[in-house]
């Protein structure tokens, strides 16, 4: 095991946006067995610490490669493109306008005749939009169109935030 390798290589997977999630799960479980603390309890402190480091790296790798957004951000970071810090690069106003309208719609859903159906419709809309962005990212990545890929990740960040906001709103509206 080598934690100087990137998450894909560490797990023995191709460096690509498309990840076979079954294979990812299998590789994770195989490696997890190797780093399990019980296997190292009889070893020196140094070896135990190393095993802990491997385990932590393995968990980060799994979390990152499981989530499409995190995976896309990570792929770009491997190419020296940082999408996690603040940027003043602005996205096209049409996209932002649509994001604003969807957030307004979510905020008004409580007053809708059928709030539950309205929230479901919004979730479906955002889910569809996210799928579309992910497919576009995958294509841009394959074609090494890094500028496009970066813009698409930034758009995915807005869509994921909206998805989380809608979920939180649903919890508030329907769970009590």
């Amino acid at each position: 095991m080598d934690i100087t390798r990137n998450y894909f290589e560490f797990l023995g997977l191709p460096v690509d946006f498309e990840v076979d999630q079954t294979r990812l799960g299998e590789r994770y479980r195989e490696l997890q067995k190797q780093v399990h603390p019980d296997r190292h309890s009889h070893q020196s402190d140094r070896e135990q610490r190393l095993a802990e480091q491997y385990a932590a790296y393995l968990n980060e790798a799994l979390t990152t490669l499981k989530s499409p957004l995190k995976r896309a951000q990570y792929l770009l970071s491997l190419n020296g493109i940082d999408t996690l810090s603040d940027s003043r690069a602005q996205l096209d106003p049409m996209f932002l306008m649509e994001q604003m309208e969807l957030r307004e719609r979510a905020a008004e859903a409580a007053n809708h005749a059928d709030p539950e159906a309205e929230m479901d419709a919004l979730q479906a809309h955002v889910g569809h939009e996210l799928n579309r962005l992910q497919e576009a990212f995958s294509a841009a990545w394959q074609a090494s169109r890094m500028d496009d890929a970066e813009v698409l990740v930034r758009k995915m960040q807005f869509a994921c935030k909206l998805q989380q906001d809608i979920e939180a709103l649903e919890d508030r509206l329907f769970d009590d």
């Binding site: 940027s87 602005q90 306008m97």
Partner: protein
């Protein structure tokens, strides 16, 4: 995180929340977003024939600091000329609201929003 009194004041009593008709020739609309946190901000100005900002409206989906920054800007720009408004600096906003370093980007977003609104208005006038 502890918000300053100024931020809480704007957050609890936001000034000038709302929407103007973006198709109105006298209205300039600035749409900006912060991709890292997913915040979205819309800032609109209504400009008189003399080039003075008569009214301003905003809507922000984001944290308290982002809401306060845009709320403050709508208060400040009323009565300003377009040039004065586009010279607003994020540091003035951050100082007025006593924003901590991690929230400076919220004031940057508000500065970008007013600049975008002025640009949008000017583009419309050229047509």
């Amino acid at each position: 995180m502890a918000y300053s009194e100024q931020v809480i004041d704007h957050y609890e009593n936001p000034r000038n929340v709302g929407k103007m008709d973006a198709d109105d020739a006298n209205v300039g609309t600035g749409m900006v977003g912060a991709p890292a946190c997913g915040d979205v901000m819309r800032l609109q100005i209504k400009v008189s024939d003399e080039g003075v900002i008569e009214d301003a409206r905003f809507k922000t989906y984001g944290c308290g600091s982002a809401i306060a920054s845009s709320s403050l800007v709508t208060e400040w720009v009323k009565g300003m000329t377009l040039d004065q408004a586009s010279e607003l600096k994020n540091s003035q906003i951050a100082e007025e609201l006593a924003l901590p370093p991690v929230k400076i980007h919220c004031s940057v977003l508000a500065e970008d929003a007013i600049k975008a609104a002025v640009d949008d208005y000017r583009k419309k006038q050229q047509k």
